[in-house]
Symmetry: C2
């Protein structure tokens, strides 16, 4: 079992694709090379292009004789996560690599996840963070966003917050156990507003559509109270825009 962090800026997402640089592709290649086994990873979450991870998980099976700690070090050195400065990239690092029960599966055994969404709320754009946050120049009303968030918490059919193009699912009912809007702005009202959401599972683009909806509430484009109707409508056209990928971080996975 691996716990992984990556900067999604230069990856075409998690999932392996021919001729594209993906996190799964890069990790499978390096792990296969060092173990001598044809490594196929099961990742917990198929993050999209540009989405980051602070704690993605993945599992694989293989019969080889390298201690987990040595394998972790070798792979990190090769990917530039270690001190090896020859690698020009270094945008993916294995945080933990542990031998676990052979029946463990990083996707099927997942009980819940926390995502973080970072909004930079200040008049001037920060060019150094262009790949790491969603820039909103107009001042956000965080109280209104928190009020709206209350209608999203709990168990609902979240069809209104699902993008097309995702996998067909048996059910679109999910439970959001926590949804916090953190205000890290300074006295002048400039700085980060962070949304942290924990749930038992998420539909395709669900966190980004929740964020887009809360941002529209924060900008006064929709009433906090209206979000109750949005959830109940089960109608995608009633929810807000899809916030951009670069502000999204897969923070933690629970098993």
């Amino acid at each position: 079992m691996l716990k992984i962090a990556y900067d999604g800026s230069c990856f075409s997402g998690w999932q392996r694709q021919p001729d594209k640089r993906t996190v799964q592709g890069v990790l499978e290649e390096v792990l296969s090379e060092y173990t001598g086994v044809d490594v196929k990873l099961n990742g917990t979450s198929r993050t999209d292009a540009g989405v980051h991870a602070l704690g993605q998980c993945a599992s694989f099976k293989g019969d080889f004789r390298i201690p987990a700690e040595n394998l972790k070090k070798a792979v990190n050195d090769r990917m530039g996560g270690g001190m090896n400065r020859k690698n020009p990239v270094g945008d993916c690092v294995i945080l933990e690599l542990d031998e676990v029960d052979p029946d463990f599966h990083a996707r099927f055994d997942c009980k819940g996840k926390t995502y973080r969404y970072v909004i930079n709320n200040r008049p001037e754009r920060d060019i150094f963070r262009r790949n790491y946050c969603y820039w909103i120049p107009q001042r956000l009303d965080v109280s209104a966003m928190r009020e709206a968030a209350e209608f999203i918490k709990g168990t609902h059919d979240f069809r209104a917050f699902q993008a097309s193009g995702g996998n067909e699912r048996e059910t679109t009912v999910r439970t959001i156990s926590a949804l916090e809007v953190l205000d890290l702005r300074n006295e002048e009202g400039a700085g980060d507003v962070i949304i942290e959401v924990t749930g038992d599972g998420f539909l395709y683009n669900m966190v980004r559509i929740i964020t887009g909806t809360l941002v529209e509430v924060g900008l006064g484009k929709r009433e906090a109270l209206s979000v109750k109707d949005t959830v109940e409508s089960m109608d995608r056209t009633r929810a807000g825009h899809t916030a951009p990928a670069e502000g999204l971080y897969l923070k933690e996975i629970y098993f």
Copy 2:
């Protein structure tokens, strides 16, 4: 006259070069397009590949009838510095654009500069900042670095802190008026150590060699007092390593 910020990660430095993406090249192209004039920029500082700028300056002459503020807005929108999300890059922004005396020249009229060098001093590498700081995992002795910095301040022949490959200069004497080592680490001793240096001019790679020398002092690899001899030696082989480009920021220019 332009004041510019850029993220140097995806630029081959400031200076225009055929078939390479450079800050000067990108700006000249967009400015020429909007003004209808063949814009040739005089930049104050020819920053290397990977080096960032918070306040680079440049000047150009041209006879056209677009108010400076409109030109600034149009160029920023085009470069992705504005709200235009269609541009995938957005790593350069014009902060100020002003009409000035026609005799003004951003390089020849420069009276001094401040550079910032960002060191991230913590055990684990931060993959999200790989292009924005110099990662040093071993704890730095900042007091020793400050002690050594005192021998660098003032007017000296800085030949020992000059890389080969720079322009031939008439003199290698420079005056460093300020050299501060800021300690932003937390209670566990993890965080940023920032070097800020102001001088009337800098030799090629001078700030990066000063930083490399101070880092070696901070790591206990050389004595603080020995830096006095290093300066006096006028011998490049006596100074420390050249710290990497990605930690360096051209902060401010004085005219």
